[in-house]
């Protein structure tokens, strides 16, 4: 039995929690497309899911890393836009990608660096399109593109703030 759910997440931790909540109820993520989740009915709690950003890794490194994931019993459910959705049978022990604060902070920094570049590109795109709109007669296209860029920049910016907060919290926990 299958179930399709449409949902947009701006926070990947929330998305991961939701996918794991579904798995707890016996709905295991089988396919993903942006905004669209396909679940298949199975044994409740049989899998643990993890979402990870690997978009900044060179191809060879990503393959090596995915190899380590697969060796350890995980499999890749889906990969797009630099994100992987991995699952591992729950009876194979815990499934944590980062097991100490230092490496988790390094991971957050990796995401933040990539997001900063995307953010700047989106801001640049918005500025370029809005200035183009002033110069041409057909304004609709550059304005629409500009709005999309500005919106992307906003979403990426919010993500960066959220990740920075998580990072800060982790850094503080170091000294407690």
């Amino acid at each position: 039995m299958k179930k399709v759910k449409y949902r947009i997440f701006l926070d990947y931790d929330k998305e991961e929690r939701w996918i794991n909540d579904m798995a707890e109820k016996g709905w295991h993520l089988e396919k993903f497309a942006p905004g669209r989740f396909v679940f298949r009915k199975g044994e409740p709690g049989a899998y643990i899911y993890r979402l990870e950003f690997v978009g900044n890794l060179p191809k060879e490194e990503k393959e090596e890393y995915v190899g380590i994931l697969e060796d350890s019993g995980a499999s890749i459910v889906h990969e797009s836009f630099g994100w992987i959705y991995a699952k591992k049978p729950a009876d194979g022990g815990p499934f944590e990608l980062y097991t100490d604060a230092g490496s988790k902070i390094a991971y957050y920094n990796r995401i933040l660096n990539t997001f900063l570049i995307l953010f700047l590109v989106a801001i640049g795109g918005a500025g370029y399109n809005f200035s183009l709109a002033r110069m041409t007669d057909i304004e609709a296209v550059p304005i629409a593109s500009g709005v999309v860029c500005a919106l992307s920049a906003f979403i990426i910016g919010v993500q960066m703030i959220k990740i920075s907060r998580k990072k800060k919290k982790l850094q503080e926990s170091f000294f407690e």
């Binding site: 990870e52 490194e61 090596e64 890393y65 190899g67 380590i68 994931l69 060796d71 350890s72 995980a74 022990g93 815990p94 944590e96 990608l97 980062y98 097991t99 100490d100 230092g102 490496s103 988790k104 390094a106 991971y107």
Partner: protein, 105 residues
């Protein structure tokens, strides 16, 4: 990781694991075994450590044919482990000295 800072538990155990050539998952397994199941390293933690240890030449990749890349500790890496053992030994002995070894007896 800066050069003089204490090693994290994970990095210390990864370096020990690489006194014999091992690939990423081999490191994870060996560290669990060595610590009698106390330390489980996540794949992200292990791979991140491999990359930064390569950068500082404490470990080196082996030229292999296989799909899985193996790594081994370098002389520089061994020196870092030895320095860490000296540091841990100081911590341990001073701990015993002050506490009298606890009152386990």
């Amino acid at each position: 990781m800066d050069d003089k800072a204490p090693l994290t538990e994970g990095v210390y155990y990864i370096l020990l694991a690489l006194y014999e050539p091992r690939h990423g998952y081999g490191i994870m397994q060996y560290v669990s075994e060595l610590s009698k199941g106390r330390v489980h390293l996540g794949p992200g933690t292990v791979y991140g450590a491999i990359k930064s240890l390569l950068k500082r030449n404490w470990i080196a990749p082996l030229q292999g044919e296989g799909r899985k890349k193996e790594y081994v500790i370098t002389e520089e890496g061994k020196r870092a482990v030895e320095a860490e053992i000296a540091r841990l030994s100081e911590l341990y002995h001073n701990g015993l000295l002050i506490t009298g070894g606890g009152n386990k007896q």
